[in-house]
């Protein structure tokens, strides 16, 4: 299995905050991996994704992406390898879903140029793949939150990157849509995309299986196989409350429940 991300000992602090948000974080992600990053609010999950995408520059350590140092890569080169699904938000202008998804082709477009036939075809097939081809002409601002999430995923995969990074893909979605989005993430992994998601919900990590990582308030990250990383002890340390993990025979997996208020 070839390595996509090799993150070596990176530390990051925001100029206005004294504490380090990431402190000596190391992580390796290979072809076909599914990784769920857990952590409390403000623990720095989004910051870690930002560092992986080159949006933020860690003060220490280095990140190797597909064999090259991230610092030496242009945003265009990063974008062809790593697709990004940011947290669901409503932009200022209601571009059509088709135009919105087509913007995922930006890494292929020259600065004085615009998308052509090939981009239109790739966009159409990404829409089809996400099952939202009927939304193509609707303004992105007027579709539901779940549909927006699907459009954003379509945009991330339109140029077939090797890895897709999701920032809290289930936030602000109702229960049904959360499961729908997780299922799509699982399908992407089955198609060969490496997938990284950040989430608050330990159950989502266990549903996805694969690998998990926990980022604590001190900026330390531990990672490994999901069933080894997510334990009652580790959950207690992260969330500071007595969560309990129960094995449910019917489902063949553990679930995370809160005993009582």
């Amino acid at each position: 299995m070839s390595t996509i991300y090799d993150i070596k000992d990176i530390s990051f602090a925001y100029p206005t905050l004294a504490r380090k948000v990431l402190d000596g974080v190391s992580l390796e992600i290979s072809e076909g991996d599914v990784l769920s990053i857990l952590g409390r609010n403000g623990a720095g999950k989004s910051t870690l994704l930002g560092c992986m995408l080159g949006l933020l520059k860690p003060q220490e350590g280095e990140t190797v992406l597909s064999g090259r140092n991230l610092r030496d890569m242009t945003e265009r080169e990063v974008a062809t390898i790593a697709g990004y699904v940011p947290q669901n938000h409503i932009p200022a202008f209601g571009h059509s879903v088709f135009d919105f998804v087509q913007m995922g082709c930006a890494s292929r477009i020259g600065i004085f140029s615009h998308p052509g036939k090939r981009e239109r075809e790739d966009t159409a097939s990404a829409l089809l793949e996400m099952g939202i081809e009927q939304l193509a002409d609707r303004p992105y601002t007027e579709i539901s939150g779940g549909e927006r999430q699907l459009a954003t995923i379509a945009r991330a995969i339109v140029t077939r990157p090797r890895i897709v990074l999701f920032d809290e893909p289930t936030a602000h979605l109702d229960f049904g849509n959360q499961i729908r989005v997780l299922r799509i993430i699982k399908q992407l992994a089955d198609k060969g995309f490496a997938v990284v998601i950040t989430t608050h919900n330990p159950d989502h990590a266990m549903l996805l299986g694969g690998h998990a990582a926990i980022l604590d308030r001190q900026g330390h990250l531990v990672s490994g196989k999901t069933e080894e990383i997510i334990t009652e002890d580790s959950l207690k340390r992260v969330y500071g409350s007595d969560l309990s993990l129960k094995y449910i025979e019917e489902f063949g997996r553990k679930v995370c429940v809160y005993p009582n208020l």
């Binding site: 974008a79 571009h95 913007m103």
Partner: protein, 344 residues
């Protein structure tokens, strides 16, 4: 059916463009004809036709002079200014992902006013007034752009606030200049200048400014797709592979040149750069590839009609900004009403 829609939409947009191009052509002929000295459409077309192809015209000299010497320059100027202001408005609104931004907000207009006022204080000719206004506008934008560098925060919100800071500081300076100006002559010209008008424009000056306007227009049209990408927000655009700094810088420079260029042709004219892009979005949606060229047509047409009105209603000519304000404010209200559902 899915295959069909984009093509149909494209035809639809070409149709809209053609309609407004046709209206603009009719507007041009109409504008040449109306005024204190009226010329028939046939005469005006024949004068223009003969002039374009260097043929002699047998119409009276007086008519020819009115058409070629007076009306054609100001008509062309109004179309150019309207188009430039509207396109720069659309571009600013895109990169600052805010549909309420207008071309003036980085301080171009306040800087231009000071430049023009200084030139008037120094009793310089109209050519220098235009030049000073242009330089003043550019200097003001440079000031606005340096504040975020000092604060070390280059987000859009800081830039917008910095535009407000520079704008209000400069209007104090402008107030001071007006205070010391000679109230009988200079103050009147300064005030008249700030309200915008097309009556002093000469064809030769217009061609100089046209050079400043054509290049940024081409660049904006070529980068229009990237303005869409930038309108998603800085991080998101960056993650998609956009060179945000370069594209944003280029668009700001071009849009500023367009605004400064039109300000030095006609003084400061409000509202156009704000309402025309909105109206354009209602017709073709927010995609800047379709919007920016359409804004050129719509803005040119709008300004042509407004300028024609200013010189045909009433006895005295009216400053352009007064009419754009009177038309613009209720029109903007109506646009907001139309879009109330999408404005959260």
């Amino acid at each position: 059916m899915e295959q069909n829609t984009p093509k149909k939409r494209k035809l639809n947009i070409i149709f809209i463009d053609l309609v407004f191009l046709g209206l603009l052509m009719c507007g041009l002929v109409l504008a040449v004809c109306v005024g204190k000295y009226s010329v028939s459409p046939g005469e005006s077309i024949s004068i223009l036709w003969n002039r374009l192809f260097g043929l002699p015209s047998d119409l009276p000299m007086m008519t020819q002079n009115v058409v070629l010497g007076l009306r054609v320059p100001r008509i062309l100027a109004s179309v150019v200014v309207g188009a430039a202001l509207s396109m720069s408005g659309a571009a600013y609104q895109g990169v600052f992902k805010n549909p309420l931004v207008s071309p003036e907000f980085l301080g171009v207009s306040s800087g231009a006013c000071i430049g023009a006022a200084i030139a008037i204080l120094l009793s310089l000719t109209t050519l220098y007034i235009s030049l000073f206004a242009f330089i003043g506008g550019i200097v003001a934008v440079l000031l606005t752009l340096t504040i975020p560098m000092f604060i070390r925060n280059r987000s859009n919100i800081v830039l917008v606030l910095s535009g407000i800071i520079v704008g209000s500081a400069l209007s104090s300076v402008f107030g001071f200049i007006k205070y010391v100006a000679d109230p009988d002559t200079q103050l009147a010209s300064i005030t008249y200048w700030t309200m915008g008008n097309f009556s002093y424009i000469k064809l030769s000056e217009l061609f100089v400014v046209l050079a400043v306007i054509i290049v940024p227009t081409l660049i904006l049209v070529l980068t229009s797709w990237w303005i869409d990408v930038l309108s998603l927000g800085e991080d998101e655009a960056h993650s998609l592979g956009a060179n945000v700094k370069l594209i944003r810088g280029m668009v700001i420079v071009c849009a500023t040149l367009l605004t400064a260029g039109s300000v030095c042709i006609a003084g400061t004219i409000g509202w156009v750069g704000l309402i025309i892009p909105h109206f354009g979005r209602m017709l073709v949606g927010p995609s800047n590839r379709r919007l920016i060229p359409l804004c050129g047509l719509l803005g040119g047409l709008f300004m042509l009609l407004v300028d024609t009105l200013t010189r045909t209603i009433g006895v005295e000519e009216m400053p352009v900004s007064i009419l754009t304000g009177i038309i613009g404010a209720p029109f903007y209200c109506w646009l907001l009403f139309r879009q109330r559902r999408t404005l959260s």
